[in-house]
């Protein structure tokens, strides 16, 4: 009896490529409305084009880099407390 083939769409290289393209397209499209609508700026600097996209990108990059940096000190072997 032939075994039913497993669903492995998320691992295929061509689907991973498709997902990357999707992600870039979605990110790009989300900035488009900023060209046409005026967003009320609460603090003056937060009204410019793609502010939230930039904020998301920069803050997440910094968070990852910072955690990587403190991880140099804070990461320990799993049996650290057993010794």
């Amino acid at each position: 009896m032939k075994q039913k083939k497993e669903f492995d769409w998320f691992e295929r290289p061509e689907s991973i490529k498709k997902m990357w393209i999707m992600l870039y397209v979605v990110c790009g499209l989300l900035v488009v409305p900023d060209f046409f609508t005026h967003r009320h700026a609460y603090f003056g600097f937060d009204g410019f084009l793609g502010f939230y996209a930039l904020l998301g990108f920069v803050s997440c990059s910094l968070l990852i880099l910072f955690s990587k940096f403190v991880g140099l000190v804070l990461k320990a072997k799993e049996d650290y407390y057993d010794k």
């Binding site: 497993e6 669903f7 492995d8 998320f10 691992e11 990357w20 992600l23 870039y24 979605v26 990110c27 989300l30 900035v31 409305p33 900023d34 609508t37 967003r39 009320h40 609460y42 603090f43 793609g50 502010f51 939230y52 996209a53 930039l54 904020l55 998301g56 990108f57 803050s59 997440c60 990059s61 968070l63 990852i64 880099l65 910072f66 955690s67 990587k68 403190v70 991880g71 000190v73 804070l74 990461k75 320990a76 072997k77 799993e78 650290y80 407390y81």
Partner: protein, 587 residues
């Protein structure tokens, strides 16, 4: 009167009957109890109370207002779902501990005075420990011990604060604290221990991930959220809480990014989420307090859901480290979908409950023109998507296929998760029923075009960054050192230092007192009479004409008689008289 019956009493007394039920009847019984409690709470009239006179105090076991009711609703609702999830469990100890724990959490919420509040608070600490110990591993035992020790410390701070507060004000009522003095600050510290605010937070990521599968689900909801409730009740508008909250949001993210254990990631994200709520309390406006309460409500639902999905993975696979997991989407698709809804909700994705509740807090900061607070909360919002929204599902269900083929989890677990997922989306699309039960009136519209676009920009770029930096986020088989170091390793360091210092003092005093002083004292008392006698006699003998050899003979003879204690009574009496005369003259 049924309408005044304290719902906490129902669960606490009901818990005592658990051992009398067997098999499935027991599981139905524990589901039914919180469901009845939910009904009781819905029947409570705002403004009613139930007082008992006790040791000269009027204890208010039931104080019903909108704030206590909304927490009562979510505590019982979550309990129903958690016990449905725990249907597989055949352990009456865990069920009893859970019911007592949830019951006392409800007791805290409805307590109108500091004395009964403190009583329920301590019962919570003790009963919750059993949900950790029931895992019955060595690690869980040790973590449980540390957990209870930290809570005893927090409880003592709270007790000291309450005693000072009652002495100063003469009132035991638990209302907003106006004075800022030692008493209220001690109470605040006691509450912040349970809210898991750094640096007194490490008990949470230390203990919760060691709890049982259902213990983790139940623990995630009550301890920190009763703390949030008490902060809303007692400390609205205390600016220090804005700072504490902001630190918590970022702290949780950094550690969640470092962590390898999936339930530890979720534990750190509790700290992150409670940070938003604590910040809302600190801002202290009606809008931000509403936001805190709404966020606590939604948070309990989606956080339970996340712990449920992680729990079913642990239940089926028996592993919880990201490095051991991966590729589970093939065999656990429903767990993935429900967990994913929880992940989107915690990230405040539009159409989920996090979006309609967290926005209230952030808008509260905007209304008060707190630019830095607003910025930190936005950065933290983006960061939530990184660690809880994507990292958790990605490394558990996708990433590298580790060849695990566990199959889907059991039906009751799936039903509980489906219900919680439904609640997440329902409150995301129709927040009005929740807004209606908040402490203050709400005029708020989360779904404006600009707000949705801004939020999506923030989150999708966060997702992009996650996958761009995937190499940096690769999981390692490590743990991360947190402030529990001070009482885990630091304890040993403390032992080492005290060992060196105290035993050093010991050795030194041994040398000085035992070896030195005692010997000297011995010598003095042995030779004292001899010195005194000779001191008195030599001048006499010299005056009597004794010189050289004769004097030497006399001295030797006296020494010998004194050493053997063989001096004639007459001489001893004479010596004693001389001694007394000398003493008398000196005085």
């Amino acid at each position: 009167m049924i309408s005044d019956f304290p719902p906490a009493a129902l669960l606490i007394l009901g818990a005592l009957l658990v051992p009398f039920f067997k098999g499935n009847a027991r599981n139905w019984y524990v589901i039914l109890l919180p469901a009845v409690a939910f009904y009781l709470i819905s029947q409570l009239q705002v403004g009613s109370s139930w007082q008992v006179h006790f040791f000269g105090f009027d204890l208010t076991f039931l104080r019903v207002d909108k704030l206590s009711k909304v927490f009562g609703y979510i505590f019982t609702l979550n309990a129903v779902a958690a016990f449905v999830y725990a249907f597989y469990l055949k352990d009456s100890t865990q069920h009893m501990a859970a019911l007592l724990y949830i019951g006392s959490a409800i007791g805290v919420v409805f307590a109108g005075d500091l004395v009964s509040f403190y009583f329920f608070w301590e019962v919570m600490a003790v009963t919750s420990t059993f949900l950790i110990l029931s895992r019955k591993t060595k690690k869980a035992q040790a973590a449980g011990m540390r957990y209870i020790m930290v809570h005893i410390f927090g409880g003592l701070c709270l007790l000291a604060g309450i005693v000072i507060y009652i002495t100063e004000t003469g009132s035991i009522a638990f209302n907003a604290m106006a004075d800022r003095n030692l008493g209220t600050y001690l109470i605040l510290i006691g509450l912040l221990v349970n809210a898991a605010a750094p640096p007194i937070h490490a008990w949470l990521p230390d203990a919760y991930p060691e709890a049982t599968v259902t213990g983790g689900v139940i623990l995630s909801a009550y301890t920190t959220k009763t703390a949030v409730y008490t902060l809303v009740r007692g400390f609205p508008g205390w600016e220090i809480l804005i700072v504490v909250g902001c630190i918590m949001t970022i702290y949780g993210i950094i550690y969640a990014l470092l962590e390898n254990d999936m339930r530890r990631i979720l534990a750190y994200s509790i700290i992150n989420q409670v940070g938003f709520m604590v910040c809302g309390v600190g801002i202290g406006t009606m809008m931000s307090l509403n936001g805190t309460v709404a966020h606590a409500f939604c948070h309990i639902i989606y956080k339970s859901l996340l712990w449920m999905s992680a729990g079913s993975v642990l239940y089926m696979v028996g592993k919880s480290k990201c490095t051991d997991l991966g590729g589970l989407y093939k065999t656990m698709p429903w767990t993935l979908i429900f967990g994913g809804i929880g992940a989107l909700s915690i990230s405040s994705f539009p159409a989920t409950s996090g979006f309609t509740s967290k926005s209230l807090i952030i808008d509260g900061a905007i209304h008060e023109h707190l630019v830095w607070v607003w910025l930190v909360l936005e950065v933290a919002s983006a960061g939530v998507f990184l660690h809880a929204g994507i990292k958790f599902p990605y490394f558990v269900f996708f990433a590298k296929d580790k060849g695990l083929r566990p199959g889907e989890t059991n039906k009751p677990m799936l039903i509980a998760m489906a219900f919680m997922s439904f609640m997440c989306i329902f409150l995301g699309l129709h927040p009005q029923p929740l807004y209606n039960i908040l402490p203050y009136e709400v005029h708020y519209q989360a779904y404006t075009f600009n707000h949705v676009v801004a939020q999506l920009q923030l989150l999708m770029l966060s997702a992009l960054v996650f996958f761009l930096f995937l190499k940096l986020l690769k999981r390692t088989e490590t743990i991360s050192i947190d402030t529990d170091w001070f009482y885990r390793k630091g304890g040993r360091l403390f032992y080492y230092i005290t060992d060196k210092v105290l035993n050093g003092i010991n050795r030194l005093s041994d040398r000085v007192f035992v070896g030195g002083l005692a010997g000297a004292l011995g010598r003095v008392s042995r030779r004292g009479p001899e010195i005194l006698t000779l001191g008195a006699m030599i001048p006499l003998w010299s005056a009597g004409g004794a010189r050289g050899k004769a004097l030497q003979d006399k001295i030797e003879k006296t020494r010998a008689t004194l050493r053997t204690g063989a001096s004639p009574i007459g001489i001893t009496a004479a010596l004693a008289t001389i001694f007394l005369v000398v003493v008398f003259l000196l005085m």
